[in-house]
């Protein structure tokens, strides 16, 4: 498989990872993505964040379709 997945990062998650975008080999679910992130960036384990797939917040473990837009979103603090 040489499908790639683009992961956008925001706020303190972007700060921790040090990049606003990650390009990874395709991962087919949000749980597998989390496992990968936790192994690469152990500090994320203690940080709160949601995963958005195609601009919708994932509820529990969700499939990541090919070509999906995925983003890591720490708790919102607008206003």
């Amino acid at each position: 498989m040489d499908q790639k997945i683009r992961i956008r990062t925001f706020g303190m998650i972007a700060e921790e990872i040090g990049q606003s975008e990650l390009v990874l080999d395709q991962l087919d679910s949000t749980e597998r993505l989390k496992e990968f992130l936790y192994s690469q960036f152990p500090k994320l384990q203690s940080m709160k964040f949601s995963i958005a797939v195609n601009q919708q917040l994932a509820q529990g473990d969700e499939k990541i379709p090919e070509g999906a837009e995925v983003a890591l979103l720490p708790p919102f603090s607008g206003g």
Binding site: F10, Q55, A71, F76, G78
Partner: protein, 148 residues
């Protein structure tokens, strides 16, 4: 009233000026079925943090998702309350202490709808829009803003 609405830009680069508020209000004086306007303004506070004093907040957003979400919230609120108009403006980038970062504006024939809608809009904007505030301190450190 069945005109089709589409996502509108809500983001303003830097602070929201008091003149923008005056202009928005003035723009509604030709709408003579309006009896009440409700406005909420968010202002950056000079909070004391453990490592210094806040001097500004720098806002970032997942813009595409935020605009889509703001559109959904608008549609919900228009469906729930008999409003004439609704406007949302949120800053991106740096906003100094004392400056405005959020401007929510609702108008209706009778006051109750405008007031309740404004209230609900502010709560939903804070809870549901993917926007982040980085509080910049006078010590050159920073902390990430946390909404209550």
């Amino acid at each position: 009233m069945e005109k089709q609405r589409t996502p509108k830009n809500i983001f303003v680069q830097g602070p929201i000026s008091p003149e923008k508020i005056a202009q928005s209000v003035a723009n509604h004086q030709s709408k003579t079925d309006i009896g009440g306007h409700s406005i909420f303004l968010g202002q950056v506070r000079k909070d004391q943090k453990e490592n210094g004093t806040v001097v500004a907040i720098e806002y970032t957003a997942y813009e595409e998702m935020a605009l889509q979400k703001a559109f959904e919230i608008r549609e919900d609120i228009f469906a729930k309350y008999p409003l004439t108009c609704m406007h949302i403006y949120h800053s991106l980038g740096r906003v100094e202490v004392g400056q405005l970062c959020l401007f929510v504006f609702t108008s209706s024939k009778h006051r109750r709808a405008a007031m309740d809608a404004c209230d609900e809009l502010v709560e939903r904007i804070k809870a549901e829009l993917p926007v982040w505030g980085k509080e910049l301190l006078d010590t050159d450190e920073h902390v990430w803003k946390v909404n209550q």
